[in-house]
């Protein structure tokens, strides 16, 4: 738990000079790294998340992170870098899911069964490793403040690759996501795109695991996109909005966690959840207001 205690480290008392407080926060290398990596991950997850929501792959994405858990813990047990195991397993799982394509839709039970097995496998691997608690904690709930400068560079490279690939397949992917039959008739390689997107999702999930962990990937992958699609329906704007919200949640979470004892992942997920609730609440009130207004008019 070394990194968690570092968070309430010397000098992290709140003063009323915000500029000085923030400058002080960035004096620490681990905070600078956390902000850079967190920003990259939030942008990637937000943009990929739009297609996750559009293609109804939220549960598949969640399951993919659990496949990654088995990979990461297996790598730890084998004495290799957990990120290698994470990438290997999520990419493999993503390729299989992508090849199944449309047949995956509505197969929640099958996905759930595989997910449970992968978690069980992960527990076995972790039990084979001596440093059980810390490693398990980092993989399951993320360890953004424990991220090294090398990790930041790896995250940056993976992020750039993911975004470049997403930009390259953007139009046909949108076409195939909305109507695979018409897209296929127009010559769009629907099957290959399905596999390609799942590989991108695997990359995005692997990156997000570093920040919020296997269990909380949803908060960066799905929640921002789900909130964004309530604000606008223009595809590029929804994507930009989702990325922006993800970055905002991450920055707020990191800043609050710098001053308060609970871990970063708790704050990121809580801020995301609260925002989602607030947006839905405001919209529900507005619709009710409109309906109520209409009823009043009829009565009058």
């Amino acid at each position: 738990m070394s990194t968690e205690s570092l968070l309430t480290a010397p000098g992290s008392d709140v003063s009323w000079n915000i500029v000085r407080d923030i400058a002080q926060m960035f004096d620490y290398e681990f905070m600078r790294n956390a902000f850079i990596a967190g920003t990259i991950v939030a942008v990637v997850a937000g943009l990929v998340g739009y297609f996750v929501v559009l293609r109804a792959l939220a549960f598949a994405g969640h399951a993919l992170s659990h496949v990654g858990f088995a990979g990461a813990s297996g790598a730890v047990a084998a004495g290799v870098s957990p990120i290698a195991g994470l990438l290997l397993f999520t990419m493999g799982g993503g390729a299989v899911m992508g090849a199944l394509g449309a047949r995956l839709r509505g197969r929640d039970v099958v996905i759930g069964i595989v997910l449970a097995f992968m978690l069980g496998l992960g527990v076995l691997f972790l039990s084979l490793y001596r440093g059980y608690a810390t490693q398990a904690y980092a993989i399951l709930f993320g360890d953004i403040v424990g991220i090294s400068t090398i990790d930041v560079l790896v995250t940056l490279a993976a992020g750039v690759i993911t975004l470049a690939a997403l930009a390259a397949i953007y139009r046909p992917l949108l076409f195939a996501s909305l109507d695979d039959e018409v897209a296929a008739a127009r010559g769009v390689p629907v099957r290959a795109l399905s596999v390609g997107f799942m590989l991108l999702l695997a990359l995005a999930v692997s990156e997000a695991v570093q920040v919020v962990g296997v269990l909380l990937v949803f908060a960066l992958l799905v929640t921002p996109a789900a909130i964004a699609e309530r604000f606008t329906v223009r595809p590029p704007l929804v994507m930009a909005c989702a990325a922006g919200l993800g970055v905002l949640f991450t920055w707020l979470g990191l800043t609050v966690a710098y001053y308060a004892p609970p871990p970063v992942s708790f704050f990121i997920t809580t801020i995301a959840f609260t925002t989602y609730l607030a947006v839905r609440g405001v919209q529900a009130l507005r619709t009710r207001g409109r309906r109520g207004g209409a009823a009043d008019l009829e009565a009058a």
């Binding site: 390259a168 296929a184 964004a228």
Partner: protein, 279 residues
């Protein structure tokens, strides 16, 4: 039984047909769906494909799209063997229920019909031409007023218009429509059928439309292809829309009625009979 003289041999006369089938048979999973289909579609004509559910109407469209390979016979579409990705073919599959929260506008859907098959994203440079093509496609189906709204929140008729616009956006010479009238109310069925007919005439695009209900398309189609009990027969509406022929096609007691204005109604097909009396 179905009479043989209704068959129209491929390319009998007039201009080169845009679609031609010569003794085509289709088998799926070892079972023959239908066999010996021989008919042709003239450029700029409107053909309806009718028949009971499960007769293989959609399969015929899939043969023309190159998705299903025939087990026998020769098929030509625009002079070529059917294959995926032929740019001059517009296709509208059976409409599925859309999530009301789908984060996409109607015009985004239509725009994909113009350039959705290209890699990358739309560059601002070609924006001008793109916007003009998009406006033209939306205008053709009179969808401009609701094109900026989320697709999931539009009515079935509005969604159908947008799908039609998407297919038209690729400037097709052949349009293949699969049950565009399904799950629409009678007024919208007639409106869409007439819209398609006007597109056929104005844009000179040959259209094949699958429909299980004959009434909305009577009076606007040039040719009827009907599929039943494994056989495919083509003819003009006058030849096909008779009590004897339709009863044989559907295997049910179907009656063709004519009122004093010359309007034709087909009675006895599911609940459509009730709708016909309302008008």
């Amino acid at each position: 039984m179905l009479s043989a003289e209704l068959r129209v041999p491929a390319g009998e006369r007039g201009p080169t047909p845009v679609v031609a089938l010569e003794r085509v048979s289709v088998a799926m999973g070892g079972r023959t769906v239908w066999r010996d289909a021989t008919f042709a579609v003239r450029p700029g004509s409107f053909t309806a494909i009718v028949g009971p559910n499960g007769a293989g109407k959609s399969t015929l469209l899939k043969v023309l799209l190159g998705i299903v390979r025939p087990s026998a016979g020769a098929v030509r579409i625009l002079g070529q063997v059917p294959r995926r990705g032929l740019p001059q073919i517009g296709y509208v599959p059976q409409r599925r229920a859309l999530d009301p929260d789908t984060p996409v506008r109607g015009c985004d859907l239509v725009a994909l019909g113009i350039d959705g098959h290209r890699w990358g994203f739309r560059l601002p440079r070609g924006r001008h031409v793109h916007d003009r093509e998009l406006a033209r496609a939306l205008d053709a189906v009179r969808a401009t007023p609701f094109a900026d709204r989320p697709i999931g929140r539009l009515s079935g008729g509005e969604q159908q218009r947008l799908l039609l616009a998407q297919a038209l956006a690729g400037e097709p010479r052949v349009l293949l429509l699969d049950e565009p009238l399904a799950s629409l109310d009678v007024r919208n069925q007639v409106a869409i059928a007439h819209l398609v007919a006007s597109i056929v005439r104005e844009r000179d695009v040959a259209t094949l439309m699958v429909t299980h209900d004959v009434n909305p398309i009577l009076g606007v189609v040039d040719q009827l292809v009907y599929i039943a009990q494994g056989s495919v027969v083509a003819g003009t509406p006058a030849e096909v829309v008779t009590t004897e022929t339709l009863s044989a096609v559907y295997g049910a007691q179907v009656e063709v009625l004519r009122d004093r204005h010359g309007h034709v109604f087909v009675v006895g097909l599911e609940q459509e009979a009730a709708h016909a009396h309302e008008h």
